[in-house]
């Protein structure tokens, strides 16, 4: 089950690419899978099993906070975006 994951420039330093693919049936499993492929990935966006509050994850453009958070189911062909806050101006 390949899920497309898009990351912003800051996270691209770890993934080496803007779009990567991962496996998992929930967002949580997907993140674990990505962490195995790109060590250090999870620590950039999570702490103590929770998403950092300045990081949002969108499943097909809907914030997972309003779905089932990290337990949100994902399936083949879904697109997940990981968006940390930016402050630059």
């Amino acid at each position: 089950m390949a899920v497309e994951v898009k990351v912003t420039s800051v996270l691209q330093k770890i993934t080496g690419a803007k779009v990567v693919h991962g496996e998992g049936s929930t967002v949580s499993e997907l993140l674990n899978d990505l962490d195995a492929r790109y060590p250090g990935f999870r620590s950039q966006i999570m702490q103590d099993g929770n998403l950092h509050r300045f990081v949002n994850i969108y499943l097909n453009d809907e914030d997972i906070r309003y779905l089932e958070q990290l337990n949100t189911p994902v399936k083949d062909g879904d697109s997940v975006s990981i968006l940390p806050a930016l402050a630059g101006g």
Binding site: T8, D61, Y66, L83, P84, L86, A87, G88, G89
Partner: protein, 396 residues
């Protein structure tokens, strides 16, 4: 061990951006003289052209103001802290713009100047008058603030406010179109005002050459119709968001880094920045533009979107970005949107708010405006190292 002196932000251009410096002296007068010898021009900033400390400058020795002690003869000893604090907020120096007057018939010159607006059905003379009767406050005259201010000036916004306490640095010129080569060293708010007037003398410009803080943000923001965020740190973003919420001001928010930008519109009581990002990152976790860099042209794209959004709100046309977060990826040249909802659990605008007044944003974001002095120093060092690398590469 000499005396430690706290240098206020507007004076730090003399001290290499340092917030604390050391000086010798047996009293305040001697300390000021030693500061002048270390940082020529310091005396002028404190005293102006006079011999006495002016009313708008307070000097504290160990937190006591010297006029309650012995004035500049106040004795100091090793290890004391002397603080120089200009009275910026709430007293002398705080602009108080009066309400804008309605615009009557446009003059022939205005009809000509704004003809490309007026001939559009969505604008017309009535729409152009609405633009000219609006006031917009821009937080920051930097990467985002620059294109915002320029396009709003060209559009004929009645009054533009600029909040920026910094001076123009050569590293700004890579992206900040309000400022040009000859403006290096000038206060950014002043440079902004000059550029706006060079484009359109009809625009009234109000400058706030001061940091926006919990002590002054309500007073600064209150007289304005719209607020546009071009701040460069998290503490200022949360401060502006909270103030706009309490004052019921529409806020057009934008942020950038590297090749990415995010833009949205917050309307009163319809969600806020904290709904999107409930808490700031710990200091150092999300780099600033000084640390990670930003494509100069990206500022133009994102800032211009912000200017477009405020014009749409003024004219009452089109679909606002309210409720949507626009994501701009310049590398892929891809624009996407995600949905933003008003969070019923939001601590500011939700059903059971716990933030009912402005807080200490410095402390909450971990350090002065999201950057500790050490981090500011690291960022400045990183910028200098990057410059040196560029120069070596050029000379290789």
């Amino acid at each position: 061990m000499p005396v430690s002196v706290y240098i206020p932000t507007p004076f730090r251009r003399l001290t290499g951006n340092r917030q604390h410096v050391e000086a010798d002296g047996k009293n305040v007068g001697e300390v000021l003289a030693h500061l002048e010898s270390q940082f020529p021009g310091f005396r002028q900033l404190v005293f102006g052209n006079g011999e006495e400390i002016p009313a708008h400058i307070n000097i504290y020795v160990n937190k006591q103001e010297i006029s309650a002690l012995d004035g500049i003869a106040t004795a100091v000893k090793d290890g004391d802290e002397v603080a120089v604090i200009p009275a910026l907020a709430g007293g002398a120096g705080m602009p108080e713009p009066a309400p804008l007057q309605p615009v009557g018939a446009l003059t022939p010159e205005q009809v000509n100047r704004y003809s490309r607006h007026i001939i559009m059905p969505q604008v017309g003379p009535a729409g152009q008058r609405k633009i000219m009767e609006s006031s917009v406050l821009i937080i920051g005259a930097g990467g985002l603030g620059s294109p915002i201010a320029v396009y709003l000036a060209l559009a004929g916004i009645g009054r533009i406010g600029i909040v920026d306490f910094d001076t123009v640095d050569i590293s700004n010129l890579q992206r900040q179109i309000l400022h040009q080569n000859e403006d290096v060293g000038k206060p950014k708010a002043l440079s902004a005002k000059e550029t706006i007037h060079a484009y359109n003398p009809d625009v009234e410009v109000v400058t706030y050459e001061m940091p926006i803080t919990s002590e002054n943000s309500m007073e600064i923001i209150r007289p304005w119709d719209y607020v546009i965020n071009g701040a460069d740190n998290f503490a200022a973003r949360y401060l502006v968001n909270d103030t706009c919420y309490f004052l019921k001001k529409p806020l057009i928010d934008g942020s950038i880094l590297l090749f990415d930008g995010q833009v949205t519109v917050y309307l009163p009581d319809q969600g806020c920045y904290r709904c999107l990002y409930p808490a700031p990152p710990p200091p150092g976790m999300v780099p600033s533009c000084a640390e990670a860099g930003v494509l100069g042209a990206l500022c133009g794209t994102v800032g211009t979107i912000q200017a477009t959004e405020v014009l749409k709100l003024i004219l009452g046309v089109g679909d606002s970005l309210h409720g949507r977060l626009l994501l701009y990826d310049a590398l892929a040249m891809e624009v996407r949107q995600v949905r933003i909802r008003k969070d019923p659990n939001c601590v500011l605008c939700g059903e059971h708010p716990t933030v009912t007044e402005l807080i200490d944003y410095d402390a909450w974001c971990g350090g002065a405006f999201g950057h500790t002095n050490e981090e500011e120093q690291k960022a400045a060092d990183a910028a200098r190292a990057a410059r040196e690398r560029a120069v070596s590469a050029m000379n290789a």
